[in-house]
Amino acid sequence: MDNSIEIDHLSTYFYTEEGAVKAVDDVSFRVPLGQTVCIVGESGCGKSVTAMSIMGLVEEPGGKVISGKIDFSGEDLLKLDKHSLRSIRGNEIAMIFQEPMSSLNPVMKIGEQIMEPLIIHLKMSKKQARTRAIELIEQVGISRPEQIADSYPHELSGGMLQRIMIAIAISCNPKLLIADEPTTALDVTIQAQILDMLRDIKTNSNMSILLITHDLGVVAEMADYVIVMYSGKIVEEGEVVELFERPKHPYTKGLLKSKPIINQRLEELYSIPGQVPNPLDLQESCYFHDRCEQCMSICQTKQPQLQEVGTQQKVACWLYEEAVAHV
């Protein structure tokens, strides 16, 4: 099998008093073995919920994975029972969260928290686990590992904690690492270090990474393949170089245009006009139509489907539907 994980027509809804919110709406993609796939999009576009759905973190009542299939090494994660799911989580799929400060238990020592998955999944003894934990701390580039293992999370900086999170995540040599905005809460210099480290780890252990971010700089740095999400749907996906050089969807173009360029002081930074539509009253239309510069009449009445355009690139936009273009 050449895919680490394959997501097939995944839909996750949240039920609110005003109605159902389609946080993730019919999303399909795959993460090839040993590659990094990035999901990009603004806040609220459903990228985190996609990750949560994969890990089974969407909790009922409130949210529910409505339909779809998440194929991980031949098994559908959505159909697994609690026990088998537990043995996959942390063991074969690991996850890093956005806020390292709050993702570690404040009353447990760092060492103990790294030891936990080792003891549970790899059935190590406490002593072995401790030795391994200290190795891991060293591996993520923290000096004085013994001392760090005996300290509490509040005694470390954000960057160090994110390294610890990574140490925990890679402790069982997972096949897939999901990183949900791993560098958002960190400052830029630390960001680069963390990303470098993730890349090294990936190449050394042949792990796949599903990276969720809103930072196009991170995407350019890390991704092999990019998925652009908007309002719970994939609007464009493609190989990273291709997508950055020849973005197809007006939204992707807008995103790329609104990225500040260093050494270039513009009067005003470009921003996509308008707001993300209210997820409660989405019409049968292209969700982007009221912010789109190239909006056509069909965009307001029908939703475009994800279509292959060129090699390795897909886009959901009426501009590229040849049949429509001819009408």
Binding site: M55, G56, L57, L85, R86, S87, I88, R89, G90, N91, A94, M95, F97, E99, S102, S103, L104, N105, P106, V107, M108, E116, P117, I120, H121, Q147, D150, S151, Y152, E155, M165, I168
Partner: protein, 308 residues
Amino acid sequence: MITTPTKLVNAKRTKDSPVKSSLFRQSIRKLSKNKLAVSGFVVVILMFVACFIGPLFSPYTDNKINMAMMNKAPHLKHWLGTDALGRDVLTRVLLAGRISLTVGLASMMLSVFIGSLLGALAGYYRGIVDQIIMRIADLLLTIPSLPLLFIFGALLSEWKIPTDYRMYIVMLMLSFVGWPGLARMVRGQMLSLREREFMQAAVVLGLRDRRKLFNHLLPNIVPLLIVIATLNIGGAILSESVLSFFGLGVMPPTPTWGNMIDAANNMIDFQERPWLWIPPGFSIFATVIAINIFGDGLRDVLDPKQKR
């Protein structure tokens, strides 16, 4: 040449590295600055020492009835006088303290155990488990605890439970009425803690519920538990005294502070022989006040959010 600097660094590290100042040490340091709390703590400790060690030095521990020494006012041989059966009041107050403090401590531990376990389960699993546990707790909370304890006490007398066992049953009774309030508080904490990001991280690590509950969640509320537990001891001692005072708790001849103050029920004893009821009364007063002051100080240190 090389060893000297490393040694220096190491020495410095052990002296004031952040690793050394755990929450526990910090709390003790902060607590020791609170004079009132410290004095409360000292009184409690003195009380314990006096009650558990004091009687060893008394020649009257056999509780023998001595008709020649009935109702004697305090004098050199009997520092706090003697009671109607010629027993030494000081010795009895100390022995009573053993029982009262033990009952207070034990029933506190039991109610903290039950309360935190049930509260944790309710808050963690929510849904039907929560409903069942919390409705039982609500039911117990709606019934005023004193009448409930009286009914239990009356039942115990009715069933003629041997006096030796009554002490243990009183402990059970007190923890039975003590756990609901605690369970409520623990549940509230659990509800908010379980949504925190580190618990999501724990789910993602594939941990079992038991591990999440006892290794990850409960340690987070230990400070709260310590505070409540401390304050609970005072309450339990008080309840036990009330019960025993009414003759529904621990029965004589086993002395407790509560059944010793019973002497105040008798008009003559009350007016003429204050040495019979003032010492146990003062012991209850001092202990409970001291525990509460200490508990308040603890709360300021461990649980600053709860400050009114």
